[in-house]
Amino acid sequence: MIRIITRLWSHPIGRLGLIAVGFNLLLFIFGPMLPPYDPEAFGFTARLTGSSLAHPFGTDEFGRDVLSRVMVGSRNTIGFGVLSTLIGTTVGAAIGIVSGYFGGLFDEIVMRFADAFVAIPNLLLSMLIVIAIGVSTGNAILAIAVSFAPSIARVARSTTLTIRQTDYVKAAEARGDSTGYIVLREIAPNVMAPVIVEGTIRISFAIMLGATLSYLGLGAQPPASDWGLLISEARQYMLRAPWLVAWPGLAIAVVSIGFNLLGDGLRDVLNPRVRD
């Protein structure tokens, strides 16, 4: 772990990613703790004001401080992205590795269904799942996890197929090693690198999907201050107060870019053969 971080630090894009994700972490931990104002406090004297010293991100239609609302919403938004990706990636990777190693009819069926799942756009799939099991943040996390699993499974499977053909797996089979050891020790760690890279980049995608669901009314519900919801609520006032869209939008972009940069850095760093 420490080794990977030091190597990321010496990689130009990886370093930017570390800094940005470090910032995301701080936002996640301290964002809801340190807002300058009560995010729910109505301010009738200063509604829909632009940036000022008192309100750097301006205020909304109820005079609530936008900066405070963005800060408070950060934990939900980032946590949402990380959690849903983590679930989806773990499940997907497990399915992909097992399917790829054992092959046969099971593999054939799993992969045909994965193809079919992938044909339904992630956003649509998660919308369908959410309306079927009920609108809530928890269900939205689950829905996005389910929509991610098939494509992660495909990545994990194709890597597994390559690894299964390598001489080190052949050597393990030749010495009569157990299936458990081969899958868990010989194959899984080698499959994890591309899966982790894919997963890291997908966190930003999950954040955007989650925000979109909230925007469409299928994720977080008012009065939460999820960033997607902030933009959704701002729709009516958009023309008069564009910052209501711009600040949460920028926040989404900054957080997403961080995970994207980290993923790109990891892609280079986690590849044991391509060094320097």
Partner: protein, 608 residues
Amino acid sequence: MTDLLTVENLTVDFETGDGTVRALDNVDIRVGPGEAVAIVGESGSGKSTLAYAILQYLAQNGRKVAGTVRLEGRDLSRLTRPELHMLRGAEMSVVSQDPATSFNPTLSVGRQVEEAIRVHTRLSGTALRVRALEFLRKVGLPDAETMMDKYPHQLSGGEKQRALIAAAIATGPKLLIMDEPTTALDVTTAAALVALLKDLKRSLGVAILYITHDLGIMAQIADRAYVMKQGAVVEEGTVEQIVTAPRHPYTQRLLASVPDPEAADGAEHRSAAGGDTPLLEVRDLKVSYPMRVKSGPFHWGASRLVQAVHNINLKVGRGETVGLIGESGSGKSTIARALVGLNAFNGEIALEGNFRHGREALDAAYRRDVQMIFQHPDLSLNPRIRIAELIGRPLKLQGGVSRTEINAKVAEIMRLVQLSPDLLNRFTYQLSGGQKQRVAIARAFITRPKLVICDEITSGLDVTVQKSIMELLGSLQSQFGTSYLFITHDINLIRSVANRIYTMYFGEIVEGRILENPSLPAPYHPYTEVLVKSALPPRRALTGSIETIKGELPSRLSPPRGCVFASRCPRRIGPVCDQTAPDLLPRGEQIGIRCLIETAELRRLPTL
């Protein structure tokens, strides 16, 4: 004589993550018109960097620090970019190491050959095609017309390399730079290519700068040679002088490392032949694999069984080294994989007289006693497992061994393979190629197996490293009495160590013989003769001429009815060879020879 190419004090640095590395250090070389000059060295010697520095084509992180490169007196570093484009491919052409990647896979071969001609001549249309065809024929591709329309993946490695040479010479260059052009090819294909180059040099008068690690090929092709080590030229001279009277200690060590059956200086290791009951006996081994054949709209049920190897009978005595030699496609690795249970097979495998039928019968005891070392340690050692676990795993698997015992045994074997104990907690990507192969050897020996199968284990290594690995195997053998089944394409290497050699061609054993010394007395199979004459060691290469054979391996889908070697055999008797399949019959002192030629006639051949 005015020189064609002169390189003076050429010094090149590379910027890497670990700082600046000097790739070329004050290199001086010259090539006269029509002269063939070899640059010889091991990996990391800078020989390829030199080739590309001459062409003014350095990698992005490379930088010329000092020196000049002159072609007919012109300083190439002073040329403008358009002038350089005019020069490259026209006056100075290059053929690189790997024919598989040197062609653009999405363009036809003809288009890529024509392209080289078009940029430097005013030819177009039919005239252009005629010129391309002319040179494709000149490099020994008689079927040039159809070859033009093929795509690179449809050609064999040898054909691709010839087509690249055609593209390189069709513009009439004065200098042809060859960067390890035969390294990716089989020995017989390589031999034919070297013969072609010698021909072209004579007929076209083109000068050749030949980059190689192979001293035998150097001696074949070059008039003079430069020996490089770590970016510097350490010795220069005629090839005779370098081969017969090397002055620099490095050149001497390099020459001493090249396997040469005739230079048996007593340092060679040959184990004593074993007793009567063989350790391993293989009877009528057959391996088939399904191959898809086009038919029906959905290709369902359209796979056909194709034989990879068949009729394999061989023995390995206790403490013996047995060589299994052949080129790619001969099936030698298929046998190795069957012997360790990686391929399903028909037939019987007996270890110490216990006969086992089929893959399922290879039980835990067998798997402990028979270990395999793979060709590429990069592929056979898991990059995400630490060395201690890699080596200790087979022992742990055996069960009943405590962790401390395992640690002790791992430490002991590390010492035996001469690896520092500091490496135990490292990953293999932190090691050199030779060190990695030592780890693989340690893993194979940790269970004290009776038989170790070595599948081309030195073919990716430099000769000096190869020599040290062979010495290591020898000392382990004398210590533990291990038998080796040594699979290789290098007949010179195996002649100096084996007690027994089986030669394979197209899935069959065509010859089996017992050796007491490196010489191969008659009778022998014509293919064995071809192998020997295709890869002459440096000393022999100075005087002897290489034997070349034409053609390619037969197709697996329509295997020949007669002798498998008939289509390429230089001693072919006649149509009978195509119709009658010979048996592997004992001839003279040999275990068996699969050939229709009379024993008496084979006996008359000279000793190899």
